[in-house]
């Protein structure tokens, strides 16, 4: 039995030990970035931490934040969804259009159905037709977005029912309802991702699809389901935004797809799948939300904001790739 004992040291030595300090920096780099953003924000805009402003940041971030919860699942599962912006807009116009005839709950139910259909279409194209997710959702994004315009006859949908703006503008205990929705959806997402069989399976699928399949995980079903979840999240985001503005418009999706992907990526979730976490997306959202808020408060031209966000996204991805190279 001396065999295993003498063999052991070699294999232990062969496995690399880590440099705790540097690894921690690389792993939690996004937190440091967040701290820097907070300090910078406090310096240039001292009122940033006042409760009114915090409410402002969070309720502004709620629609895209909810979308990025779903996007986190898609991306950890090794996928990508460029169609969420269109689904977001479709949700907004359907909700606004049907609020009068069906009531708020009926309209929300209709949005849910529409989003599930969109998500299932995305999931089937990616898993059954084996179309690359980038191309698949680029295509379906065009289809869903086009349909949102057709459905609304390219006209803003303005419901008469005054209650329509309830979700987007009312407060509970002094805080906007959209913030509660954002937090609840984040918590559900975080729990499902970290602690459920579903979440662990998504990590396995994104990390090594073949190994997941051989382990008996229903790969196509679960991967497809992440697109359905993201579509539902996009629908909820669309409901919140149209409710806040009191109007549903087919061009509301705008940059939602890229923004939500940027938020997930800034948090440090890998573009390659298999790695990431919901808290990362939360931090990514807070970074982008705070920056947008401060830029707006300082009246920075929107075009400069776009440039700054682009630089941040590239920096985040470069850091992720650098960290990955250091580990292997």
């Amino acid at each position: 039995m001396s065999k295993s004992q003498t063999v052991q040291p070699a294999s232990v030595a062969g496995a690399r030990k880590s440099f705790p300090a540097r690894d921690a920096f690389l792993q939690f780099g996004v937190l440091w970035a967040f701290v820097i953003v907070l300090i910078g924000a406090a310096i240039v805009y001292p009122r940033v931490f006042e409760p009114t402003n915090l409410k402002n940041i969070l309720s502004q971030a709620a629609p895209v934040g909810i979308v990025s919860v779903g996007m986190t699942f898609v991306m950890i599962g090794g996928g990508f969804d460029l169609s969420v912006g269109s689904i977001f807009a479709l949700g907004a116009v359907v909700f606004a259009h049907l609020a009068d005839p069906l009531g708020l709950w009926g309209a929300a139910g209709a949005v849910l159905i529409a989003c599930v259909i969109c998500g299932v279409i995305n999931g089937l194209i990616v898993t059954k037709l084996h179309v690359n997710p980038f191309v698949a959702t680029l295509g379906t994004g065009s289809v869903f977005g086009g349909y949102a315009f057709i459905y609304s006859h390219s006209a803003p949908q303005v419901p008469n029912d005054f209650n329509f703006q309830y979700i987007g503008t009312e407060n509970w205990f002094g805080w906007p309802i959209s913030i509660y929705l954002l937090i609840v959806i984040f918590l559900i997402g975080a729990f499902a991702l970290a602690r459920s069989v579903y979440g662990r399976s998504i990590y396995a699928i994104g990390g090594n699809t073949e190994a997941a399949r051989l382990s008996g995980i229903p790969v196509d079903l679960l991967r497809g389901s992440t697109y359905v979840m993201t579509a539902i999240c996009a629908g909820i985001g669309g409901i919140i935004l149209s409710s806040r503005l009191g109007v549903g418009q087919a061009d509301m999706g705008g940059t939602t797809s890229l923004d939500s992907i940027a938020i997930v990526v800034i948090g440090g979730t890998s573009l390659l799948g298999g790695e990431g976490a919901m808290w990362r997306t939360a931090v990514g959202l807070l970074i982008i939300g705070t920056l947008t808020n401060v830029f707006d408060a300082l009246a920075v031209n929107n075009n400069y904001q776009l440039v700054a966000k682009g630089v941040i996204v590239i920096g985040a991805v470069a850091l992720d790739i650098y960290a990955r190279r250091m580990r292997t």
Partner: protein
């Protein structure tokens, strides 16, 4: 091949001189200062256990890995690290295990990749064709220049890479485990080519786990252990046992066949498969496994042995056959999930590509095999994951305190243990094991063979496929031999142990008849 013969510019006659080469990866030494010299016109083998440092060393010579310390001279000139182009300029070509062929291009275009012949800025197709044919003739290679590279066999693709190296004027050719995916005749062809290149003045250095081929082809064998040189001497001074001793630091009996009591021949076999066919790969193969029996499948590359295993595991959607488990008929599995439901678990050949989620911890890798055991209402219990993983780790001789380690950072042997542990955690009735010891060192090989025997003693039925026929003979109670998609022989080892030659005879008899 004047490029090879004339250029021995330095006086020492050394193709390579490495002094005090050291490599540290985030605090751990992969190489702790080694000195290696290689004379021009020799074949130099690097051997050692996994993690011993031989591949790191090869990477440094190839110019891909930058050493932390030390110096390397190539043909008397200082080596430039981290710049593959510079390495090429110094006359180094490297043939990696993962070949760098561009599949969509022609064989000829691959040979001239990155250095096409041109005239006045235009590609000189005719000149390249002529040169390709010259090279092919010189190296006794029969590959059509316009063949699509991606459709060639692995052996032919490897030949193309060697041709590319020679064409670029390489005088020092490095091979990283060149024979792992080659069949015996292809292996022979490669060795013939290596000898030919040596006769023309080229120097070669290769990493291998196969000690027989090391002793067969090399002039000098250098053994690494634990990041240091454990020995370096001309081939004549080595024997297989002395090599193993230098590698692991003590004697290991390789492929010792352990007598097992013959499994009970019950009325119903644990698994019985009839008329298994996969279009284009295997035809009407019957096999059965008793509880507690290890069935080996022998055969050459391309004989259908892997297809047979994949079909049983539900990985061949076009396969057909009849399956009975414990005497009860079961629908033929067309998906891995169906096979798993029937109690059939596959331990795949490529643990990195198919077996493990490298970014996950060892315990999570084990847990994904059977979530129902570690969760309730879809919620995973971290405590139960850790408990289950610890139990599996104890059973498979894997350090319990490392179950939280990311699988990517484990050695090959430990990864293989996690893979087997994961399959075990699924509680299969039949275990299909594809190439259980590929790419792992001698010591860990022995442990894994012992594990398979122990699982069989627990009543599992085990089917082992390996390209290493000695391993098949050592591991199994009964062997079926495959050739050209058919079962051509069945050898029962309970009476007398078989020899590798028996399997080869059975396999080749069919081939020579046709």
């Amino acid at each position: 091949m004047q490029a090879l013969a004339t250029q021995s510019t330095d006086d020492t006659g050394l193709a390579l001189r490495a002094v005090g080469v050291e490599k540290r990866y985030s605090g751990t030494y992969a190489l702790k200062g080694v000195d290696v010299e290689a004379k021009t016109g020799t074949i130099h083998a690097l051997v050692g256990e996994n993690g011993a440092g031989k591949s790191t060393f090869l990477g440094i010579i190839a110019g891909r890995v930058v050493p932390t310390n030390g110096s390397v001279e190539i043909f008397g000139k200082p080596h430039v690290f981290g710049a593959p182009r510079q390495a090429r300029r110094l006359g180094i070509a490297t043939i990696y295990q993962e070949l760098t062929i561009v599949p969509a291009l022609s064989a000829q275009a691959n040979v001239f990749l990155g250095q096409p012949l041109s005239q006045a800025g235009l590609l000189d197709e005719r000149g390249m064709r002529r040169r390709f044919e010259e090279l092919a003739a010189q190296m006794s290679v029969t590959i059509r220049p316009d063949a699509v590279a991606g459709r060639l066999s692995v052996a032919d693709q490897q030949m193309l890479e060697i041709m590319r190296g020679v064409q670029s004027g390489a005088r020092l050719i490095l091979f990283d485990e060149p024979t792992t995916s080659l069949a015996p005749p292809e292996r022979e062809a490669l060795f013939r080519l290596m000898r030919k290149l040596r006769a023309e003045g080229a120097t070669m250095m290769f990493v291998s786990h196969n000690l027989e081929e090391v002793l067969d082809i090399s002039d000098v064998v250098t053994v690494f252990r634990d990041g240091q040189l454990s020995g370096s001497a001309p081939r004549a001074d080595w024997t297989k046992p002395s090599l193993i001793r230098a590698m692991v630091g003590h004697d290991v009996v390789e492929y010792r066949r352990v007598e097992r009591k013959a499994p009970a021949r019950g009325a119903a076999p644990l698994l019985s498969a009839k008329a298994v066919s996969v279009p284009g790969a295997i035809e009407a193969v019957d096999l059965s496994v008793q509880p507690g029996e290890i069935l080996g499948i022998g055969g050459l590359v391309g004989s259908g042995r892997t297809s047979l295993l994949r079909a049983l595991a539900g990985l061949e959607p076009r396969s057909t056959g009849e399956l009975a488990v414990n005497g009860e008929g079961v629908a033929w599995p067309l998906t891995p999930r169906a096979a798993l439901r029937a109690g059939i678990v596959l331990v795949p050949e490529d643990r990195k590509a198919q077996g493990l989620v490298l970014g996950m911890s060892a315990m999570d890798n084990i847990a994904i095999a059977r979530f129902s055991e570690v969760s309730r209402f879809g919620v995973i219990s971290g405590r139960r994951v850790a408990e289950s993983a610890r139990r599996v780790a104890r059973e498979f001789g894997f350090a319990e305190n490392r179950i939280g380690a990311t699988v990517r950072n484990l050695s090959g042997g430990n990864q293989q243990k996690v893979l087997l542990g994961k399959a075990r955690f699924r509680e299969p009735r039949i275990l299909l094991v594809d190439e259980p010891t590929r790419g792992i060192d001698v010591g860990a090989k022995d442990e894994i063979m012992a594990t398979l025997r122990r699982l069989a003693d627990d009543g599992l039925g085990i089917i082992v496929v390996s390209s290493d026929l000695e391993e098949v003979v050592a591991a199994s109670d009964r062997i079926i031999v495959m050739s050209e998609g058919r079962k051509v022989a069945e050898i029962d080892q309970s009476a007398a142990p078989a020899k590798v030659q028996d399997i080869l005879n059975a396999a080749f008899k069919v081939m020579t008849h046709e």
